[in-house]
Subunit: 352 residues, 4 copies
Amino acid sequence: MAGNTIGSVFRVTTWGESHGPAVGAVIDGCPPGLPLGEEDIQGDLDRRRPGRGRFATTRREGDRVEILSGVFEGKTTGTPIALLIRNADADPAPYEELREVFRPGHGDFTYWMKYSHRDHRGGGRASGRETAARVAAGAVARKVIGRAGMVVRAFTVAVGGVGITRFREEEARGNDLACPDAEAFAAMAKVLADCRREGDTVGGVCEIRVTGCPPGLGEPVFEKLDAALAGALMGIGTVKAVEIGAGFAAAAMRGTAANDPLVPGGFLSNNAGGVLAGISTGQEIVLRAACKPIPSVAAPQATVDVRGEPRKIRVRGRHDVCVLPRILPVCEAMVCLVLADHLLRQRAVVGG
Amino acid sequence: MAGNTIGSVFRVTTWGESHGPAVGAVIDGCPPGLPLGEEDIQGDLDRRRPGRGRFATTRREGDRVEILSGVFEGKTTGTPIALLIRNADADPAPYEELREVFRPGHGDFTYWMKYSHRDHRGGGRASGRETAARVAAGAVARKVIGRAGMVVRAFTVAVGGVGITRFREEEARGNDLACPDAEAFAAMAKVLADCRREGDTVGGVCEIRVTGCPPGLGEPVFEKLDAALAGALMGIGTVKAVEIGAGFAAAAMRGTAANDPLVPGGFLSNNAGGVLAGISTGQEIVLRAACKPIPSVAAPQATVDVRGEPRKIRVRGRHDVCVLPRILPVCEAMVCLVLADHLLRQRAVVGG
Amino acid sequence: MAGNTIGSVFRVTTWGESHGPAVGAVIDGCPPGLPLGEEDIQGDLDRRRPGRGRFATTRREGDRVEILSGVFEGKTTGTPIALLIRNADADPAPYEELREVFRPGHGDFTYWMKYSHRDHRGGGRASGRETAARVAAGAVARKVIGRAGMVVRAFTVAVGGVGITRFREEEARGNDLACPDAEAFAAMAKVLADCRREGDTVGGVCEIRVTGCPPGLGEPVFEKLDAALAGALMGIGTVKAVEIGAGFAAAAMRGTAANDPLVPGGFLSNNAGGVLAGISTGQEIVLRAACKPIPSVAAPQATVDVRGEPRKIRVRGRHDVCVLPRILPVCEAMVCLVLADHLLRQRAVVGG
Amino acid sequence: MAGNTIGSVFRVTTWGESHGPAVGAVIDGCPPGLPLGEEDIQGDLDRRRPGRGRFATTRREGDRVEILSGVFEGKTTGTPIALLIRNADADPAPYEELREVFRPGHGDFTYWMKYSHRDHRGGGRASGRETAARVAAGAVARKVIGRAGMVVRAFTVAVGGVGITRFREEEARGNDLACPDAEAFAAMAKVLADCRREGDTVGGVCEIRVTGCPPGLGEPVFEKLDAALAGALMGIGTVKAVEIGAGFAAAAMRGTAANDPLVPGGFLSNNAGGVLAGISTGQEIVLRAACKPIPSVAAPQATVDVRGEPRKIRVRGRHDVCVLPRILPVCEAMVCLVLADHLLRQRAVVGG
């Protein structure tokens, strides 16, 4: 079975190609009575939209969301919520030469191997464009978990090899990358400027933090909360690694140091990252997702075509230098979707 | 809904607690006509079993698997395969003092917060004992994907802070950790010996490699192959981070370096780790899972009890020093389960 | 979890309310490479549309389907197929008086009890309007199973108490009810004319026949083919009973008469209706669905309002006299959806 | 994907063959804290067991259920509940001649066509034996819905052509068929005695009634409560038709007669059978399931073997004359499973 649906109780199905008429999502299982309007969604879509900030492409995506069902007189009805975002300003002409050639680092080759018939224009379904639908659905999920007190925020914590050395949330509000370390941001900005000048791209790391998550969310044994979150983040095309809490660093630790001692009212540390045995502890949830560089680089690259013949290609058009910061609302959306689903799942089994 | 099932077409449901009468699994969706006997499963179970090797606990688990259904005259019938592993040698007495006290780093606290009623003996469902059922089911999955030419192997690539500096598969066969770097193994062995002497534990990193995976497996967009693999590995209690291919290193790379160029017959590099846009490329799949230290340490630890009162506990009994190498067959099993499912899913949609 | 999705491998999610902007469906899991255009769908939609035939309402639904994704250059791509049908000519004014009053026989009361907030206009999600999306998706399923040789056709076999006494498929083509007994049709037409004159409505029975179904479809034990078909048909709002093959008559038979003897090349009878032990036999599949009368009658009826106070209502507007024949393409669609799903499921498990 | 699981939140997977070592079920999603012991299950199993009553086979099934997990100190823990029932007294020898011959009316032919490899002994997975696992799981579901006030009871309302003419629940307690009409029972008993003497079998009709169901259960649009119940009942091998409320009779009614008028405190009639627009009304739920005759008759029958050659067979061994009354607890179990699932699903979406 195909994989365009996420969630068990709060279920989201997305659809749409980069250069088709539209992208969209259907949300099934949203509780009734939730106040919801298009304005609740538009803000997150705007953060994802290209053409914002210094490091972005200049393609304009007219991302206006329409709610087509499931909301009546300003409140959800419990029936499916259909979200529609028309595609605009999508010129397929530059892609004509890619009809039979596979761009390195893109899904062109694998879609061809899987389906034998593909929409090559702008990556089709594999385009980052598809994430607009996730962000729209994620905004609804954000409202669901917001009622339970949860807040989800993503930050840029590394670009290229430059990482943060401190985390000050207020500093993240002062820069285009939502980087919580103003000094590191300056160095990151230089990396990005260098890349742009060289026609190259660069990777980075996103950190997602969740406050207000109640203890008890997550389903042993295969659908642990951290398993679901890791799968959701790895389901973003650009992500190549995910960690929670101490993450890779935990592999170098001793047990006496890694365990988070409990005291009345909470824990003394958070190496677990807010999830223990797959179930939320009530602490802050801390996740990091490593993003590879955008594969669309200006330099000519070796590749093959659909007949297996060697080819050289240059990817044209204006592209972002780095998925940061545009990926931040996408990461937030995926985390919101998982948390909304697990919040309702817990309610199913345990009530409340 | 609860999360004790994994897979869509090749579906596995596990059950059982550490100190209950048995653990087991039901496999639904295994193709008919596959030769299968208990001996196909026992080998993997034996690798997972404690009491083997120098770094292991001395508890003996009598892990004999019984096939109760779904196999007739040595071949699968297409009906559910029920696997049963009786628990033996499980003395609950040492756990009596843990009835109302939460061990740091264990699921005791979160299970209590989630369910309000729990089997405290040996961690109950949150025990590593549960993974025996996964390994048994994974052995069946291994046969399914083996028919398609896939081979899944796991290696120890780091223990504590000591990592490998080269990968020689033949060297992995010569040591208890399946470490592909004999020199690094010596250093790792020293770390483990130190930990044991100090009554402490230590984390490590497992690398899983898959050869023979055909291109085309994985389902866009939420159930990408790497998303499914990451979720499956993160669904192992001890795992705190997962990466594929270049992983976290990709976040520091330039696009011109990270892209894997295509040439007739394949790729020139494998930063992608065998998955592009969530679909297998046909290259080797390379995954790493970071494992935290086993939380059962000898030193007294601060914690609380079910009433929230501060307590000191010492975890008794003999425990492993490190989840490596016992976690290796568990990681392999999870990867086999995902691949078997996606192999059959691809067949559903595209045929073949 | 909510229930707006049907199917496991060929999965369809529908959305939309009677008086919202649109209704639609997303199909996930359709095989790639299938020729598909809007014209393949429009025909079934037109059969479902009101305003056709002698026994229909005069409301005009501008049922033009748009394919928004999943099709490229006239063939499916394997990605989700989004179908959109704008609602037109839907005047909510007549429904204003129903905002707080429950129409007997409609979902008004139960939606209110379930969700506490509902779109009362024209039944909202519970409206027959919702079936337009099913019919659109069913038309795609029909193409999938058509490639495997299956043909699905529905007939009117009873209206009010008048049933057919013979089955001649060619006679069904000559009348508005698709009734395979021209004499019975004349009597049915009289019943319908009487009902219309009296401002009343009447029930009927639909028979669905499937030719060309290969043996082997259906999944023991809970998702037997007949179980799936029965559930799908009973999932149509108007259906109160479903039978397969001899159906209720089988309950009065002896085993020696009910068993269908096998001979080389087939069976000597078809009391089973084409399904044995939940798996298709290769014979014709024969199903019947009993439809209740449309609840919108002209006569004043006793009911209550949202406060539980007694009320009298008269349902205004022009309504059909009987769901036959408009329900026929809906029944066909549901059967096509189930068969497409089970065809692909069989391929997943057994190949081919 | 295979179909051995039922339910979304309260999920049950069954396994096992007639002549394998055991049959069983795993329940995932049962709420924690529910008092549960083997004695809660044994009663329903005993009602299903052969060898009881005048009309039964003499094979003794030693149906003792073991709870292997998910229960601790007499209460469920929220983890999977594994139920095991060992097969006993199952002699495969009489079935040896059926290894290559298909019994008419049985699943022998279709299993062969589907899987190409089957356990022919006693029908394997297609045996009525499989329903023991359903009954065991259903007994747990019965406890879940019992806490919400629901009671599920099944009755024999027809055998052969003999049906009840009145419904007096107290009379059902006085006879082996649980027939609520003592006079009709006498006539039914005569039909059964005639059949037994003739070595023939006969069908019948079961009616299932649910009291105490709260309004609001059922999920539009595909997983309506009546759709789920119809699918569940049709998923019993012997059932060929299902109706709710007025059922087939509704197809002959006028709308003015079929609508159930609402008055303060309830409805004036129950043609709907307790479900309107797929959602429970709070009235009694009334379902009927038509059961075909047991296909194992003494008379020689025409059939074919696996090579398609014509054969004559006589089915040996002692078999029941009618699935009534043994099917009653199976029907109850299926209804309990559906209701438990929908009760928890409603809680997921709406809370409470």
